[in-house]
Amino acid sequence: MSVTAGAHERIEVEVTVNGVPRAAEVPPRRLLSDFLRHDLRLTGTHVGCEHGVCGACTILLDGAPIRSCLAFAVSVHGRELTTVEGLAADDGTLHPVQAAFQDQHGLQCGYCTPGFVMSACGFLAETTEPDDDEIREGMSGNLCRCTGYAGILAAVKQAAGDLRASGADPRSQHQPEDDAFAGRPGGEHGPAGGDGGGEVPS
């Protein structure tokens, strides 16, 4: 980490994001969520409340879930981050948690979904055989306004079973060839606002 003094002080941050080394010079007060979204253009991490309540910005820091809106980018220098973009296999096969959210209708508008998916990955790494009450409590730190949570809880339950069957670490990128879990294909055609990055041709 190198520090440049002055009014427009910027600090170089080096992190590993989804297994890829990334570096950027940022102001010391740059939030980790803004660093991911604006500097690295990883917009899958969403910001819903900016103060750690809603959980939409949840990512994994060295494998543990944190609220990226409550951390500064400089505070994670040298550490390893996993965002929702880092879960599916390279061939696009969904991670068991992602597939379960699809299967169980664990999303509607989808804004809270990346945060829930990351929270679930952290939770299932700690609690491999959760009962229904444990799942409910484990998912109670994230807000969803659309679903009433039943589909989300069912998804985490399904994912727990699939992960147990495969023995995979839920915090790692999905490796379809290594495990018994039969990956599910993705959707066929994205609708409005759908597939692809956020860049609008200007």
Binding site: T43, L94, H105, C109, Y111, N142, R145, G194, G196, P201
Partner: protein, 751 residues
């Protein structure tokens, strides 16, 4: 109108099946582009200056310091609005920027575009406004007769429904007053949009909204541009629930883009979002119910006052619904309902899931329980005895010609076996099920249990003579592999409800084409109307069906069938026929016409109705005032479940919002100021607050509805709230005339 298309049960991923969302993969992988995720090269960031005062006169606005700040590209105020200075969903009474008068806290005064969002924030802080603070008018009842705070007056709409014999009285009558607090839609994705200037002097706007075309028309009018030079494209929407029906930043961001000649993005913070969109109308209700000794309703009298806040928004429609549905889903031969929607200096209120029907349902269901008590009658039996049925007349004089399974939804909600919840049972191990949950505050021995039932209904689609038609285009062609590909183009806003899934299902079922793509929703096609009033399945689903049928007819013609035989298209060799070229058809879908209400609130004003009943089981610690909702059972009239998993998702999500209004959610106001604009202080239900839901779908196909389906989004939010409060009343014996019920209403209630 229904065209009577048969749904073929064998069709893979067609209607009637729990087909997965086509946007599921991008949403679970993080690649789905929400409006907040959009970036354009060279874009600026916009930010709004809002009034800190609910009521003030503006003496002067000085933007000179902000304008000189390096990196600030533009600062705009009311004098920079080239077109109409005001906008509004139904009445253009809301200024794009306040210039002389501030009418609510958070009203926009100016906008800034700068190179960085934080710089924009600093520039906003550098604008100097000299306010002469005025005492705000915050009492809705007082506003009716108070000096007008807007040139259009303080009454948005007064509707006095009179039906039957107004002098009729019942052997038994009960009276009650009720109050509903201000709820917020609290979608998770704050308002955002990206505007890009176009070479012809127009503008392109990527926006999360519920209704592209009505936004387009309002934006164009304020910009002083013809509508065809304002092009809107729907971007990913993080929930809506009514809060995205009104314009928020649309005009501001386009003004900044046109002024600077650069792309401009605006993105509200959570606090700004609470100030930047309309809320659910707070309500004061007074009721008197009359019944004969057998419990048959004789007359319902009501007075309803809705606080519409500073600007009209959809207040006229909300009070229309409140008056029409004030008596609930019951046979009421005589009615006298006086409804007001008024202007105050509180935040503007407008659409939220179940608009109008939610507020009155809290009143009429409390009254039905009160009446049952006065009659010493079972409240379920009282409701069944008065339940509306097909052929019955509403207090508006309209006869129900479609389905009305009120008895069925009540019986379904009551039939479900409650989980083993008797107060003496030790709850499942752990303390999460006790009131107060993880706080370990409640003592099991103190907990009392209550059960409550409530029933509600509302209209589907827009009412009172409004033709909210929808348009869809369906194109069928061979793809690069020679396989049939259908592409649907419709401007219906996908806000999470699953219209995108349904559109694909319809095409598969009607045309037998498995591969269905969806074009982005935008304003290059005709309006689809709003994603509100539970209307898109019926209206835009119907438009997609009509376009499919037109394609089928063209295919049949190609095959040599003279008159065209849509149903036979499934047996045609579509690949062979499409070798001649693509087929492309656009169709508009209108619902049957409705009438305006007359001066007595009478008329065939509504297209169709949907009903639901909820039974709630709650545990309460009366000493601490803590409530734990333990179970909700519901029966819902859905017409036909076109995607059962999606229907259940709407029901569970709608109940969560109803639970929020019952025991958690309120925008707290003090002299017109919002006290809790954050998710720390405005609490919405978490997974621990939501009980298990057991739902029974009542499937009676609605005549005239495409595929027989009714909209399902709003009914779960209407009667879940009063069911929960009825259960708390049953547990505590308290009257609880106000929602949300807070701990002090229970713990500090006078015996």
């Amino acid at each position: 109108m229904s065209t009577g298309t048969e749904v073929r049960p064998g069709t893979r991923s067609g209607l009637g099946q729990s087909v997965r969302r086509p946007d599921g993969t991008p949403k679970v992988t993080g690649t789905f582009a929400f409006s907040s995720d959009l970036f354009a090269r060279g874009m600026l960031w916009g930010r709004t200056l809002r009034s800190p005062h609910p009521a003030a006169r503006i003496r002067s606005i000085d933007t000179s310091i902000a304008e000189r700040m390096p990196g600030v590209a533009s600062v705009l105020t009311a004098r920079d609005v080239p077109g109409r200075p005001t906008y509004g969903l139904e009445h253009a009474d809301q200024p794009v920027f306040a210039s002389e008068t501030v009418r609510f806290q958070g009203e926009p005064i100016a906008v800034v575009a700068a190179e960085h969002p934080e710089l924009a924030l600093r520039a906003v802080a550098a604008i100097e406004v000299d306010y002469e603070v005025v005492t705000p008018l915050t009492d809705a009842e007082a506003a009716i007769g108070a000096a007008p705070i807007h040139p259009d007056g303080n009454v948005f709409r007064h509707l006095h429904l009179r039906h039957g014999d107004l002098d009729a009285v019942g052997a038994v009558s009960v009276e009650g007053s009720y109050e509903v607090g201000m709820q917020d839609q609290a979608f998770l994705g704050p308002e955002s949009g990206l505007a890009i200037p176009v070479d012809d002097g127009g503008v392109e706007l990527f926006i999360s909204t519920q209704w592209l075309h009505v936004d387009r028309d309002q934006v164009a009018a304020c910009l002083g541009l013809p509508p065809e030079r304002v092009h809107l494209t729907l971007s990913g929407i993080g929930g809506a629930f009514g809060a995205r029906e009104d314009v928020s930043l649309q005009v501001h961001v386009c003004l900044l883009a046109l002024r600077t000649g650069r792309p401009v993005k605006m993105l509200y913070s959570r606090e700004e979002s609470f100030h930047g969109h309309v809320h659910r109308h707070p309500a004061r209700l007074w009721y008197r119910h009359h019944a004969d000794p057998d419990g048959r309703l004789v007359k319902v009298e009501a007075r309803i006052v809705l606080d519409g806040g500073a600007y009209a928004s959809s207040s006229t429609a909300v009070i229309g619904n409140a008056v029409c549905f004030a008596a609930g889903p019951y046979r009421v031969p005589n009615a006298d309902v006086d409804g007001w929607a008024v202007r105050t200096n509180n935040p503007p209120c407008g659409a939220m899931r179940g608009f109008g029907a939610v507020q009155v349902c809290f009143g009429h269901e409390a009254q039905m329980d009160r009446l049952a008590a006065a009659l010493a009658m079972d409240p379920v039996e009282l409701r069944l005895r008065n339940a509306l049925a097909p052929g019955d007349e509403l207090p508006t004089g309209q006869v129900i010609t479609g389905t009305a399974p009120v008895r069925e939804v009540i019986e379904a909600a009551m039939a479900l076996e409650p989980p083993p919840l008797a107060a003496t049972d030790p709850p499942a191990d752990g303390t999460m099920d006790l009131p107060g949950g993880a706080g370990l505050t409640a003592t099991r021995a103190d907990v009392v249990r209550g059960t409550g039932l409530a029933v509600g209904f509302k209209n589907l689609m827009y009412s009172e003579g409004f033709d909210d038609a929808s348009t869809a285009n369906v194109r069928v062609e061979l793809d690069h592999r020679g396989e049939p590909l259908a592409t649907v183009h419709c401007a219906a806003a996908e806000v999470g409800q699953g219209f995108v899934t349904l559109a694909q299902q319809i095409v598969r079922s009607v045309l037998g084409v498995e591969q269905v793509a969806l074009r982005p929703a935008d304003t290059t096609i005709g309006s689809a109307g709003s994603t509100s009033a539970s209307r898109q399945t019926w209206m835009s689903g119907g438009a997609v069906e009509l376009a499919c049928l037109a394609v089928a007819e063209a295919l049949a013609e190609r095959a040599g069938y003279g008159g065209g035989a849509p149903d036979e298209v499934l047996d045609l060799d579509v690949v062979e026929l499409l070798r001649e070229g693509p087929i492309d058809r656009t169709r508009a879908h209108h619902h049957p016409p409705t009438e305006p209400l007359d001066e007595d609130g009478q008329g065939d004003a509504h297209v169709s109705f949907a009903f639901a009943a909820h039974r709630a089981v709650v545990d309460v610690d009366p000493e601490l005032g803590l409530v734990k909702v333990r179970h909700i059972a519901t029966g819902q009239d859905v017409g036909r479940a076109l995607n059962p998993q999606a229907v259940i998702g709407q029901i569970e999500g709608g109940i969560a919002q109803g639970l929020g209004l019952a025991v958690m959610e309120e925008m707290l106001l003090e002299d017109g100021r919002l006290r809790n604009p954050s998710f720390t202080d405005y609490l919405i239900p978490t997974a621990l607050d939501m009980p298990p839901v057991t739902a029974t779908l009542i499937e009676q196909p609605e005549p005239g509805a495409p595929f027989g389906a009714k909209g399902v989004g709003e009914p779960p939010t209407i009667s879940s709230t009063p069911a929960i409060v009825a259960a708390i009343r049953a547990a505590t014996g308290l009257e609880l005339p106000r929602i949300p019920v807070r701990p002090e209403h229970i713990a500090l209630a006078e015996a």
